[in-house]
């Protein structure tokens, strides 16, 4: 593996991943802060959102870690689910954190919610990032599974089939959750009566 490409934290990440792979679940706890840092580093290089179809954006975020993980896959499926959920959650955290900061500084956003082709209106307003974060937290209280599914879909771009595989549920379950969640999010984030976004910030 190419250690030179990665920063000083990479050795610890590798070590922790292999420990996790050898079944030491507590290694995951120590891994998470390192993961945040690393992902954050990468995320800082994103500019405006990509055109639909450019999945490399999300790939960049988790690709490096996935490579290492894939060579130390823990036998316990629960952990793989956990890993992907963590990555999605991390992206959400990074974007939310960024939005909060920019709001406080009264500056424009540099990173936005990745484009999800079945919820294309999501992210067209700069306020969406923070609103989405709040909404997802509320959703998690009502239906934790749905919130997880939505997170994977929006922040990692996982297809329904992939999400089903990660969470060990059936694809129809995922589809249903997404359908309802989309409507619910629309209600939360677009409560106004107007159906045109004429006051959108330029994307």
């Amino acid at each position: 593996m190419d250690n030179e490409t990665f920063g000083p934290a990479s050795e610890s990440i590798t070590r922790l991943l292999s420990q996790w792979g050898a079944g030491r679940h507590e290694a995951l706890q120590r891994l998470l802060p390192l993961v945040y840092g690393r992902l954050h580093q990468i995320a800082q290089h994103f500019m405006r959102r990509q055109r639909p179809g450019h999945t490399l954006q999300a790939t960049a975020l988790v690709g490096e870690l996935y490579l290492r993980l894939a060579n130390a896959v823990p036998p316990d499926l629960r952990d793989r689910e956990h890993f992907f959920s963590v990555c999605a959650r991390t992206m959400r955290w990074i974007l939310t954190d960024h939005a909060r900061q920019r709001q406080a500084e009264k500056r424009q956003l540099q990173m936005q919610i990745p484009f999800t082709d079945d919820i294309p209106w999501l992210g067209t307003r700069d306020s969406d990032t923070l609103d989405l974060d709040r909404a997802l937290s509320r959703l998690a209280e009502l239906d934790a599974r749905a919130a997880q599914i939505v997170e994977l879909r929006i922040f990692l771009g996982c297809t329904a089939a992939e999400t089903a595989g990660i969470l060990s549920v059936s694809k129809p379950t995922v589809d249903r959750s997404l359908t309802m969640a989309r409507a619910w999010l629309c209600r939360e984030l677009r409560p106004d009566g107007a159906s045109t976004d004429s006051d959108d910030a330029a994307r």
Binding site: A70, A183, R187
Partner: protein, 823 residues
């Protein structure tokens, strides 16, 4: 479940049911279902309304462009002698405009690519200028020329290129419904152009149909050659510029952010070719993150071209689906798949080779790609052994692990052990690239795999005795790496018995050497030496048939045994060291780090014999040699320690401190700050640091390291004695007498508990430290008594220690005088 969740579940059920209904029935049904629960009913209706709104918004979003239109100022803007007229397209990094020359020189229409100013910094601009000149020299009929470039007055870097009026390659071929042969010919034009650029050492890095235009005259024109790197603002941190690469055509190594190479362009060409021939993407549906990740990792194999054909695709290629499938099976398929290999080294080495093979295909000649594939599939070396195919998997594993062990052996210091998780990681890595086996590495531990291989060896066909013996040896080395000495011995003994029954063979030498290692591990030093002696005689008989590395290892190992473990045949040890080192100096095949380790051992021997000067030279040589291979590795620990001792003896305090400091560095890096190894190194360093005036640092080093030492080396360990004495000295020099006294007493206690011989100077050293501390504290009667104890023992020890005795005598007189005068 809390009420809110229950409610949610119910709402969800109703929601999903209701939306399937026709609108006219919906409301009534909903009313009926919810009865008196108005809140629930309203909630469902509100969500249904929200869904409609969502659909409305989605439809709108589909019409809005995903990118903002360029600020109007960009049009009719001046860039050098050019003025932009209209937007041609927009990429990740910037926009491309149609522009016209307006400085009156001549009429010229160009394509002008602009990059936003804020993305360019000084570093970038410098590179931009240099690379631009390189690209401008690329002169080929099928490559759009880079005409000019610069930075506008507004500060925006821009490139001026030949304007091409053409259509992307894939669309061109589909529009004209070109058949396979016509498409191949166009593709060959593309390849020739790419190959030309490669020969000028320019990579494209972003080949895709969008960058390959075809004019109305059927001329192919490649765009954006090398501009992928030219326009990349900052590829450094992640190693990849996520805005530039088109994932659909990017090679796995490009997606991982590794440096581009010819192989990357070959891959991209492979994807283009695949799509030209089949109308499909080789890796299924261009999906999301997970599939991209699988591609990066190499888990996604391309679909066989023939299997990817659709009826529609066949129509666009003016052929029937059956005919197309036949055309794309066999040789053509092999060529495309070779270009798409996950491992870059398995692809065509150059675009020229791809062109040649396509040429072979078109001329009905045998195709190299096909042959390669066949060799690859059959090429697993174990197939050549006389072992049934079913057990091949198990033995690949065994031999693979043995290979890992061999590499690891060269890099391991005495203290390190090979952990089974590490082996597992290596193994999974290697197996994943080696193909499919009946073992799923995700399900078995290495040990289990070994045991399975073991079982099969006992029960299944073994092939001829020699092969069996080789396999046993491989298994043994794997077991040894995992500290299963019993199984290692079991297999080695059988392998050795077999080899002994044959004529002299190098395999026996290796087996004997390995067997001796196991014996040594088990503390059976005599047996270890016996095996090595036999091995030595064998390699002498073998002469040139013995591998130099094996000979070196045997001689080194035997030398060590003679100097450290056995009845000290120092002459033989010395001779063997010199022979081994001489051999390594002549033969670069012997790893430098092994040579360094051997030199260090020899240096240690010289040190013990009191030949300081010689030892120092050898040790410095060892460090230099080893550092050329593995600088900063844990192997440096022992030689550095010995160097510090030599320099300390010479009274080169600064030099000793430096060596000790490097020891600490090496240890921290290899085993961490909290390890006992590091603590020992720290104590050694602290002593010299204190003696060269770095008192605060030395004190904190002691405070940090001593608890670890005390924990790891309880009395009567001599390591504790040594460290405690150093600690005492450091504290005394720092004026912290209470602690100095405590450590001095600790070292004394250890010396006494260790039951050292009566005249052992180490006891004297402890008395010495204690005495000096007490005297510094002006606790005279006791202090002087301690010094006298030290003196007595030094005298008994004799030799060079008499000098110490004399020093003590002087100190005692001085302190006596001070004690008397203060009374």
């Amino acid at each position: 479940m809390p009420p809110a969740e229950l409610e949610w579940q119910r709402v969800a059920e109703l929601f999903h049911a209701a939306r399937e209904m026709s609108p006219s029935l919906r409301d009534a049904w909903l009313d009926a279902q919810t009865g008196g629960e108005a809140a629930t009913r309203d909630e469902v209706r509100s969500l249904l309304a929200a869904e409609r709104k969502h659909e409305g918004l989605s439809a709108q979003a589909a019409c809005t462009p995903a990118e903002p239109p360029p600020p109007p100022a960009r049009l009719s803007e001046r860039f050098g002698p050019y003025k932009t007229e209209r937007l041609l397209g927009q990429g990740g990094m910037g926009a491309v405009y149609l522009a016209r020359r307006v400085d009156g020189q001549f009429d010229q229409v160009v394509a002008l690519k602009v990059m936003a100013a804020q993305l360019a910094d000084a570093e970038f601009l410098k590179r931009f200028h240099t690379e631009r000149q390189v690209l401008a020299s690329l002169n080929h009929a099928n490559i759009t020329r880079l005409l000019d470039g610069g930075v506008s007055s507004a500060g925006d870097p821009y490139l001026v290129m030949e304007y091409v009026d053409g259509v992307p390659l894939d669309r061109y071929c589909d529009d004209l419904k070109l058949g396979v042969e016509a498409r191949l010919n166009l593709f060959l034009d593309v390849c020739e152009a790419v190959d030309f650029a490669h020969r000028s050492l320019i990579l494209h890095r972003d080949l895709k149909p969008g960058n390959i235009l075809v004019t109305a005259e059927s001329t192919v024109k490649l765009l954006d050659f090398g501009t992928a790197s030219l326009m990349a603002a900052d590829a450094s941190v992640t190693g990849m510029d996520t805005r530039m690469l088109t994932p659909r055509y990017a090679s796995p190594e490009q997606m991982r952010g590794e440096r581009s190479a010819v192989a990357g362009d070959v891959f991209s060409l492979g994807v283009v070719l695949y799509e030209l021939l089949t109308g499909a993407w080789p890796f299924g549906t261009p999906g999301s993150v997970i599939s991209a990740l699988q591609r990066i990792k190499g888990d996604a194999a391309p679909t066989r071209p023939a299997a990817a054909i659709t009826d529609r695709a066949a129509g666009l290629r003016s052929a029937s689906p059956d005919r197309l499938r036949r055309l794309l099976a066999g040789d053509l398929s092999a060529i495309v798949l070779k270009a798409l290999e996950h491992d870059p080294s398995r692809r065509f080495g150059s675009v020229r080779q791809l062109v040649d093979d396509l040429g072979n295909f078109l001329n009905g000649l045998p195709v190299l790609a096909r042959k390669q594939t066949a060799v690859y599939r059959a090429g697993k070396f174990l197939r050549r052994h006389l072992v049934a195919a079913g057990t091949a998997a198990a033995f690949v594993i065994a031999v693979t692990v043995a290979g890992i062990v061999a590499v690891h052996e060269a890099r391991t210091a005495r203290a390190e052990a090979l952990k089974s998780e590490q082996v597992s990681l290596f193994l999974t890595d290697m197996l994943s690239s080696a193909g499919r086996f009946s073992f799923d590495p995700q399900k078995y531990t290495v040990l289990q795999m070994l045991e399975a291989a073991d079982g099969r060896l006992e029960k299944g066909p073994k092939g001829d005795p020699a092969t069996e013996a080789v396999l046993r040896r491989s298994l043994a080395s794997s077991y040894y790496a995992l500290h299963r000495n019993d199984r290692a011995t079991f297999h080695l003994d059988r392998a050795i018995a077999t080899f002994r029954a044959m004529d002299d063979t190098p395999e026996l030498a290796e087996a004997l050497r390995m067997r001796s290692l196991v014996s040594e591990n088990q503390g059976q030093y005599d047996a270890a030496a016996a095996f090595l002696e036999e091995a030595l005689m064998l390699v002498q008989r073998l002469g040139v048939d013995a591998s130099p590395v094996t000979v070196f290892r045997i001689k080194s190992a035997l030398a060590q045994t003679f100097s450290f473990n056995m009845n000290r045949h120092l002459d033989r040890a010395r001779g063997l060291y010199q022979e081994a080192i001489g051999l390594a100096n002549r033969d670069p095949a012997i790893p430098r780090i092994e040579l360094a380790a051997t030199m260090a051992k020899w240096g240690g021997l010289l040190l013990e014999e009191g030949k300081d000067r010689e030892a120092e030279a050898v040790l410095m040589g060892a460090l230099e040699t080893g550092r050329s291979d593995n600088p900063g590795g844990l192997w440096e620990f022992d030689p550095l320690y010995e160097l510090s001792v030599i320099r300390g003896r010479r009274n080169d305090q600064a030099g000793a401190k430096e060596a000790a400091r490097q020891m600490v560095d090496v240890s921290v890096r290899a085993v961490g700050v909290d390890s006992s190894n590091t603590a020992q190194a720290t104590m050694t360093w602290a002593r010299y640091a204190a003696q060269t005036g770095e008192l605060p640092a030395a004190v904190s080093g002691v405070l940090q390291a001593m608890p670890i030492i005390e924990r790891s080396y309880p009395s009567p360990s001599l390591v504790l004695w040594h460290s405690a004495r150093n600690a005492a000295r450091v504290m005394r020099l720092a004026g912290r007498y209470a602690e100095a006294e405590r450590y001095a007493r600790e070292s004394l206690a250890v010396a006494l508990a260790a039951k050292l011989p009566a005249a052992d100077p180490r006891t004297a050293n402890s008395w010495d430290e204690l005495g000096q501390t007490l005297c510094d504290k002006r606790q005279f009667p006791e202090g002087i008594r301690a010094l006298e104890q030290a003196e007595a023992i030094y005298i008994q020890a004799g030799g060079t220690w008499l000098e110490h005795a004399a020093t003590k005598r002087r100190q005692i007189s001085e302190w006596r005088r001070q004690a008397d005068s203060s009374r």
